[in-house]
């Protein structure tokens, strides 16, 4: 994937064109096409890095963003989550599990009549906060909730 981009980058670095491109904004990572996977955000090892990757460093808590997760998950491999945003003009919802090796789970962009309501099933390595981030009118909102993961299925 992206072999052409790699080649371009390699060539460009040597000639110093890359710096120029960045300065011109042509390579700003936030401007890549939606179809391009946000590598920086998804491969971030901590929540702060992941939030930075999706551009949501200054998110405020919102009661209009509802995060439905179980209090206790007996099987960390399949944790159902449901995120509903009642914030007007919500254009995107992201889901993060703070203590996972790569916290960012998914990001969904909505258009053409989609309701900001998404459900998914996540993997969780251990008890952790689950965080939802919604983007509406260029601002970011968050909600979070802890899910206890019991290994071994004792329900403890």
């Amino acid at each position: 994937m992206n072999t052409t981009r790699r080649t371009v980058l390699k060539g460009a670095t040597a000639s110093g064109v890359l710096a120029g491109l960045i300065a011109a904004g042509a390579l700003r990572p936030t401007l890549v096409l939606a179809a391009d996977w946000n590598k920086a955000a998804f491969e971030a090892k901590d929540t702060a890095g992941a939030l930075k990757g999706i551009g949501a460093t200054a998110a405020s808590e919102s009661k209009d963003l509802m995060l439905k997760v179980p209090d206790i998950a007996e099987n960390g491999a399949v944790v159902p989550v449901d995120v509903v945003s009642n914030i007007p003009n919500t254009s995107s919802i992201s889901i993060l599990v703070e203590k996972n090796p790569q916290p960012l789970c998914a990001q969904f962009d909505f258009a053409n009549g989609a309701v900001a309501d998404v459900s998914a099933r996540l993997k969780m390595g251990q008890t952790s906060l689950v965080k939802a981030v919604a983007k509406a009118d260029g601002k970011f909102y968050t909600a979070q909730k802890e899910v206890k993961v019991t290994v071994g299925g004792c329900g403890g």
């Binding site: 994937m1 939606a34 179809a35 996977w37 946000n38 998804f42 491999a77 399949v78 944790v79 449901d82 599990v97 996972n100 090796p101 790569q102 916290p103 960012l104 789970c105 998914a106 990001q107 969904f108 962009d109 909505f110 258009a111 053409n112 009549g113 989609a114 309701v115 309501d117 998404v118 459900s119 998914a120 099933r121 996540l122 993997k123 969780m124």
Partner: protein, 103 residues
């Protein structure tokens, strides 16, 4: 080629519920096999939902999504009989696209 997705799209009132089950291993790249070798990461990276020819959901997915991912979406403005097309691409370039009709 991966297994076909199961897609259900149902109109309830004015809201259409779309549920998708994708058959995919979603390997994180963290797991080790019996011999202690790391199983390479293999997971869906992006997915899209188009209804009636329009892009409704554009999603990016990481390794923290469970094996055989299930996603649910809701939308307004779809009619019974509209075509729903769900597609995904994984990190190895495998892709799959399946269709259903709003019922």
């Amino acid at each position: 080629m991966a297994d076909p997705m199961k897609i259900r799209a149902q109109l309830k009132g004015d809201v259409t519920e779309i549920r998708v089950l994708m058959g995919h291993a979603m390997e994180t790249g963290q797991r080790k096999d019996a011999a202690g070798a790391t199983v390479p990461a293999h997971f869906i990276q992006s997915m899209t939902v188009d209804v009636g020819g329009k892009r409704v959901v554009d999603g990016q997915i990481g390794t923290s999504v469970s094996r055989n991912p299930v996603f649910g979406f809701k939308m307004k403005g779809a009619k019974v009989g509209d075509k729903v097309v769900v597609s995904w691409v994984d990190n190895k370039g495998d892709k799959r696209s399946d269709e259903a009709v709003v019922a």
